[in-house]
Point group: C2
Chain length 487, copies 2
């Protein structure tokens, strides 16, 4: 370290001689001192030779620093050759404490009361992990995906110098359109869908385009999927929870002023039932009558036991009201962040515009890799395998609930899928049990965790994606033991 | 083809005998007829044997179809074994024309007057491509990226079954924090930045969090970056264009009611000058006085000629007002969709929440690949190489403008970067020239294309990312010839 003498009102502290950073640091210190007001406006700086000697640097170094400060406007040259501190306005110094800013005061109103981001605990903490909403990662065809990604990168990196179209790459839109019609009898052409960063972004684009802040009423299922509620609330919507029964969303309860209805008709999340045929038609009629939009969240229909579940609302829709949202977070991996929305033709251009404003488009190589993965039949094969895997886990779970939990846990009938729900005997509080269980290495969710309102069905949701088949029975028996202790 | 007889009010049209689709099609046609009302409620359907004979299918096939319709609620079984059409409400038939829906009437107000998505023409159309805002793709270290991506995928795919944290992977946040301080002397810890899908998403997150629709005033540069204006407008902001001169944004002109100021202080986009030191301090003082936020868009400082450009506003900020937005769209590829925002500590949690609602998080393997790419020093190496490439193109461009366009095109002084701007002689209209040039294979942009207002500087913007050095001179001479014809 070397110290400048009394040639300046303060002493620059520089790195040791020989360091290539000395010039940089000297510049920074002078600049900061000018910005802070420690070197006052109109002060004449020492000559370059003087400062060089005081700091133990070369004269060239000081000349370069002064030239830069001159170019930056921190100093001015005056007649006679002197270098003077410029009259830049001083801001507060970092030494004074940073201002205490309350984020709430700065946020737009719709964001002020939203909770912080959701966090998933790391998987390692759980011996028995019934995490909800995630697929089995260990079964993902990793090396295949890797080689398709590499191919996609090779093919595309040379192709285009510009940003891509917001709707998604043509190859992927074609592949998804074919996949959706295959898996779900959803009929659409490639031009009627937009590729998104998961289902979440599809919800987000719809919310932004169609929610008039402070005015638009959005009906959601209760219980339902919290991240969907949150994104509509963030857009300024008034959220109205609508009950769910054995026929799914109670369509009759939707208030006429609702302009958007969000629903999981194939497999109500998280309770399980499908929306009945009667209600499907009633919901479509509601939408036509009130010019409402329907957001059809079809998050895991790939894994339903029934070979042919009920037709999608999108298939039945004659009124151009349905936005069908699909995702590859369950069929492949959530960390890929790929999904899509099939929308009525009148809405496609607006969705593309909203997608572009959000993030231009999804990453190119991921899109091309997925397109190839689907087009070459790997997705269909993967789904066939996973359907068996999850169906087996489901059977084991239901058997374990019967074996260990009869009278305590009552499974809700559903057509399969990535999770199963069970109601809990009234004298055991599901919320408290979830906390106790987590402390003992069992991750399971309460139905209440998916509810907006305090009054929630007393029950548990068991995800089937993260838990190996051979751990299910022991996980359930551990849980039941804990529940009986609490009853 | 076979036709059902008069056993039904309409005749199902089925695929040829032997097709495995006969059952599926019969089901679809019955279901559609019930939904449409062609098969009225309470109508008794023919017995399975009768319908099977009429349609030329097996009885089992009809039984399966009836069972499915029963499960779906389209038909009901009554005493005595008959199958009756259920009283499902009929919706309109697809034969009647689809409703004509005007998207504008359905969109939230802030979106109604936004233009459609921007489109880049394909590169192939241009012999001389001065596209603005894109880097050179041919120089991208493709095989290195591919191998890091593959490694990342291998490492991460087994790791976690759940969604990731919205802020970005710890490894990438660490790498970007180090990179930003290296490249730009921006000081931040990993916890003060959020990984985004390009700069666009960073703008978007800020707009959503801090714009109160219909109220918040946002000051932007004129000329400036249109996608930034659009995203703030979409959030409901009132956009106020502020002029730019040789010292960059005219800070004195910002109205006191502005709550967000968007600025490109390092290299004004697209005009070129840096924001002067005086204005930097004035802008920071403005922000502190009015509790305004500053969005510092530092899109191409990696490519400035000066080894050390003026300090970032983020570096000078003592008031926790600056949101520094960086991107890898210029330093690597726009199609990767990766960027970041360094924010004041008080805003990080809200940004994370907004990121999660937008799309949960960026794709895992891309994040991990970029983290490794930076940490292993490849980014710094790539930037060193590209800085030379672009500086050379810039020299050739300026020389060509001088050689062919003296008196016609006057380059605006700037410190380098990925584009250069030149003012055009008054008697040649830049907008018209851009159109003529495009038809002759020269892509170049007009300054007017970056302006909100009609009155725009008459000039051109030359991007340096897409055009090889050896084509620049001929591109400019072609352009000048076209301009002289128009004068």
């Amino acid at each position: 370290m070397s110290f400048a003498g009394p040639v300046l009102p303060f002493s620059p502290v520089l790195p040791p001689a020989g360091s290539r950073l000395r010039q940089h640091v000297l510049h920074q210190q002078l600049q900061a001192a000018i910005a802070d007001g420690r070197l006052a406006a109109d002060l004449r700086l020492p000559g370059s030779r003087t400062l060089a000697e005081a700091c133990g640097v070369s004269r060239n170094c000081v000349v370069a620093v002064y030239e830069r400060l001159l170019a930056e406007g921190y100093v001015v040259a005056r007649n006679g050759g002197g270098t003077y501190v410029a009259p830049v306005r001083a801001t507060r110094r970092a030494e004074s404490p940073a201002p205490q800013i309350d984020a709430r005061e700065r946020l737009a109103p719709a964001w002020r009361d939203l909770p912080e981001a959701l966090r998933f605990g790391p998987r390692d903490n759980f011996a028995f992990d019934f995490a909800v909403g995630v697929p089995d990662r260990s079964e993902f065809p990793l090396s295949l995906w890797r080689s398709l990604s590499a191919q996609a990168l090779r093919r595309t990196a040379r192709a285009s110098a510009t940003y891509l179209v917001p709707e998604g790459q043509p190859s992927l839109r074609e592949a998804i359109a074919a996949h959706a019609s295959f898996i779900r009898a959803v009929s659409c052409s490639a031009s009627e869908l937009i590729v998104t960063s998961g289902a979440q972004q599809a919800f987000d684009l719809i919310a932004r385009l169609f929610v008039e802040p402070g005015k638009t009423v959005v009906a959601v299922e209760e219980p339902g999927y919290p991240p969907l509620r949150r994104v509509f609330a963030a857009a300024g919507a008034r959220i109205v929870p609508i009950a769910v029964d054995r026929e799914g969303l109670v369509v009759e309860d939707i208030p006429p002023e609702a302009r958007i209805v969000c629903v999981t008709p194939t497999h109500q999340f998280p309770m399980g039932p499908a929306l009945s045929a009667r209600r499907r038609l009633a919901l479509l009629a509601f939408a036509q009558k009130h010019e409402a939009l329907i957001v059809e969240d079809d998050y895991d229909s790939e894994f339903l036991d029934a070979a042919r579940p009920l037709d999608a609302l999108q298939t039945l829709d004659r009124g151009q009201s349905v936005f069908y949202v699909g995702t590859f977070s369950k069929s492949l991996l959530p960390t890929l962040r790929l999904g899509y929305v099939i929308a009525p033709p009148w809405a496609i251009s607006a969705l593309a515009s909203a997608k572009q404003m959000s993030d231009w488009h999804c990453a190119e190589s991921a899109q091309e890799a997925l397109a190839a993965f689907i087009a070459q039949g790997h997705l269909a094969r993967h789904l066939r395998r996973m359907r068996k895997v999850y169906a087996q886990r489901r059977r084991i779970l239901l058997h374990a609930l019967e074996r260990h939990g009869a009278g305590l846990l009552h499974p809700v009938t559903s057509g399969g899928g990535l999770h199963a729900t069970a109601l809990l005997r009234d004298d055991v509080d599901a919320r408290a049990l979830v906390t106790t269980a987590a402390a003992r290495g069992v991750r399971v969710a309460s139905i209440a965790g998916f509810c907006m309102q305090e009054a929630a069905p007393n029950g548990l949701v068991f995800g089937l994606g993260a838990i190996p088949a051979e751990l299910i029975d022991e996980g359930v028996s551990t849980l039941v033991r804990l529940a009986l202790k609490r009853s």
